[in-house]
């Protein structure tokens, strides 16, 4: 019997169209636009100015606080300008524009293809290298990794959980990475284990990636303390709290951090980035992005430099199909529709999903029939229909009492609602309001 989390969950059609496809490296674009805020927390401060020459891996944005991350150039060339650019959500945010000239890398980066296993670094040195490389959680939440590796005083980690669930339908970026870079990932995990002083790591993989499970299980004997754990396919298994429940059978209390139950959770992509940063001195300036969709000619997994436009990616996968209804950044469950395709790929871009007009259409909203399907699927054990109503009636006290702030915005409730009610839309709004009230009360 495969493990999974114990409360709620759904199983949408998997549609992993690009599974098993090799990672293709995308040609260098002519210009990249690198946003200075690609992570949760304070935006980085630009340290280059117009006309500066940069190399691949040069620091262009300095982290401006504890919860922030460095930003590096993904190409070599000249800084064209630092200006506001439309981001994926249609707001203008500061970004560095770089015109590409050649492909000259910073000397410190080891460009050898070969895999290096040996490392002799202390925990502090590893965390420092991760901080310098500007690594953030690559699952999509983009939380700066060094913050997670520095537990608040009084907490000790017992176990490192590697999130390789990739529970979002369509996405296969992590899957392809595990197939091609297994040894590197395992080394990255060993480094992370050393960084948080734990003896045990578990890689949680959903059972729809049998080849990746077999591949990593084959490798695990070479690495001490790493266990591969196949999990039952269930959305949202990739949620931090859900994965902890699935792997450890422990529940994180409302409002608490995973470290309170002794867990540190990192994405499998992050583990690979950690390997590259620590062993190869390579900052985070490229990532794997899945481009997919039912009508896409050539769905696949692409290794792209940060700052490349989404349009370039779509073109690489065979262009925008005629009947595309929406272009979604991320997966179909938690991803957001993009306002235009000229936005750059950022550290958090895990996929680009082109869905057809028919699929994209929202169905008419009908009345709640009290079927409690949303209550049954909520992985946090909340009452979505009540939370939606409290938001509509702006009853923030009641919303807070019913733990609206615990919502992980997975969208299972909206997905399952037979009346097509926009549950998550309203709950997300209410969650924002309530969290604002809670913050104001604290300060």
């Amino acid at each position: 019997m495969l493990k999974t989390f114990r409360i709620g969950g759904i199983h949408p059609p998997e549609n992993k169209l690009s599974a098993g496809k090799a990672i293709q490296t995308l040609a260098l674009p002519k210009q990249v636009i690198i946003p200075l805020s690609q992570h949760i927390g304070a935006p980085a401060t630009a340290v280059v100015k117009k006309g500066d020459e940069v190399k691949v891996g040069s620091l262009i944005g300095q982290a401006s606080g504890f919860v922030s991350a460095n930003i590096h150039s993904s190409v070599s060339g000249k800084v064209n300008k630092i200006d506001n650019v439309l981001d994926a959500s249609g707001y203008r945010r500061p970004a560095v524009f770089i015109d590409v000239e050649g492909d000259e890398w910073e000397e410190a980066i080891d460009r050898q293809e070969g895999f290096v296993k040996a490392f002799d670094l202390t925990s502090k040195e590893i965390v420092q290298k991760i901080t310098d490389a500007g690594i953030v959680g690559l699952g999509g939440a983009t939380f700066p990794t060094q913050v997670k590796l520095t537990p608040p005083p009084g907490n000790t980690a017992e176990i490192l959980i590697i999130n390789a669930a990739e529970c979002e339908p369509y996405l296969t970026a992590d899957h392809s990475l595990m197939m091609e870079k297994g040894n590197e990932i395992m080394t990255g995990i060993s480094l992370l284990m050393k960084a948080v002083h734990v003896k045990k790591a578990v890689i949680g993989i959903e059972n729809n990636k049998k080849d990746a499970i077999a591949h990593l299980q084959h490798l695990q004997s070479n690495y001490h303390g790493i266990e591969v754990m196949p999990l039952k396919v269930q959305y949202p298994q990739g949620g931090e709290k859900q994965l902890i429940d699935a792997v450890m059978r422990r529940q994180v209390k409302s409002g608490a951090l995973p470290i309170s139950v002794g867990a540190v959770v990192q994405n499998v992509g992050t583990a690979f980035a950690v390997y590259e940063a620590v062993v190869k001195n390579k900052p985070l300036f490229e990532r794997i992005v899945t481009v997919t969709g039912k009508e896409v000619l050539n769905p696949g997994n692409f290794k792209v430099r940060i700052g490349t436009s989404i349009q370039t990616l779509i073109d690489a996968a065979g262009g925008l199909p005629e009947n595309t209804g929406k272009v979604i950044g991320g997966g179909p469950m938690m991803g957001k529709a993009l306002a235009n395709t000229e936005v750059p790929v950022t550290k958090g871009s895990s996929g680009v999903l082109l869905i057809t007009e028919k699929e994209a259409k929202r169905k008419p909203v009908m009345s709640c029939i009290r079927c409690t399907k949303c209550v049954n699927v909520c992985p946090m054990g909340l009452n979505p229909t009540l939370l939606m109503t409290t938001t509509e009636f702006t009853n923030w006290d009641l919303a807070e009492k019913n733990h609206i702030a615990d919502c992980i915005e997975c969208g299972s409730c909206s997905y399952t609602c037979p009346s097509n009610r926009p549950l998550l839309d309203q709950i997300r709004l209410g969650k924002g309001k309530v969290m604002g009230i809670m913050r104001a009360r604290k300060s």
Binding site: N84, L86, S89, G90, Y91, R92, K336, A337, A339, N340, A360, K361, R362, V365, P422, D425, Q426, R428, L429, G432
Partner: protein
Amino acid sequence: MIVIAIISLGLIGAIGAVFLYAASKKFEVYEDPRIGQVQEALPGANCGACGFPGCAGFATACVNAATMDGLFCPVGGADVMSQVSTILGKEVEMAEPMVAVVRCNGSCAVRPRQNQYDGTRSCAIASALYGGETGCSFGCHGFGDCVTVCDFDAIHINPETMLPEVDEEKCTSCGACVKACPKSIIELRKKGPKSRRIFVSCVNKDKGAPARKACGSACIGCGKCVKECAFEAITLENNLAYIDYTKCRLCRKCVAVCPTGAIHELNFPPRKEKAPEAEGTPVVEKTI
């Protein structure tokens, strides 16, 4: 039989009456009768614009307060507050009458739509997701959150422009729409003499070129109005002009120089054809 029934019921009634009388005396709560009087004078909309929970809350606060500083019913305005001051015998500071002003004039004609939103028709939800259907991420969504919250039926979406319009007669300046607007477009401004007002009808903080590209009547931050203003009422910050209504003397010179027509004048009589040098300057006449 009837006599017994009358006597027994009468007795029960009498005992009950004595008990209730005693209880009402023992547990009596004294309420200042003026609270009721003040509440009578108030509009009774319970809109919360005064900052208190409903009219009863405001009336209690008025009666209990030593001075009337900071206590004002924007809905009732000067009339109601003078009544309250007569009842309580306290001096009331009269606030200027205010009115809600919508600072976006990006109508469908000047602000082309670039994408289509098919989610929940709510400005708050839409703006939490993304910048909006047009290239201007500061402008009005047009889903009418302000209309929904208005207790006085004073704000409506114009189906032609898809922008909200304020009915000055009905607007009580309670500020509900100001709070509801996720884009902070609506502002309470001084109503002005004969309801004459001048304001920058734009909140776009982008630089000139992208602002102009996104919307034909956006403030592009050129600063012409700042130079033109003799009273230093206009400030330019983040590529956006703002007219301080406490300093503005309603001379309307800024309206004439604005190249995009982002500065609006309201309720002024039509301009007369004046000296020849004024010829050729576009006369902007817009009413909301």
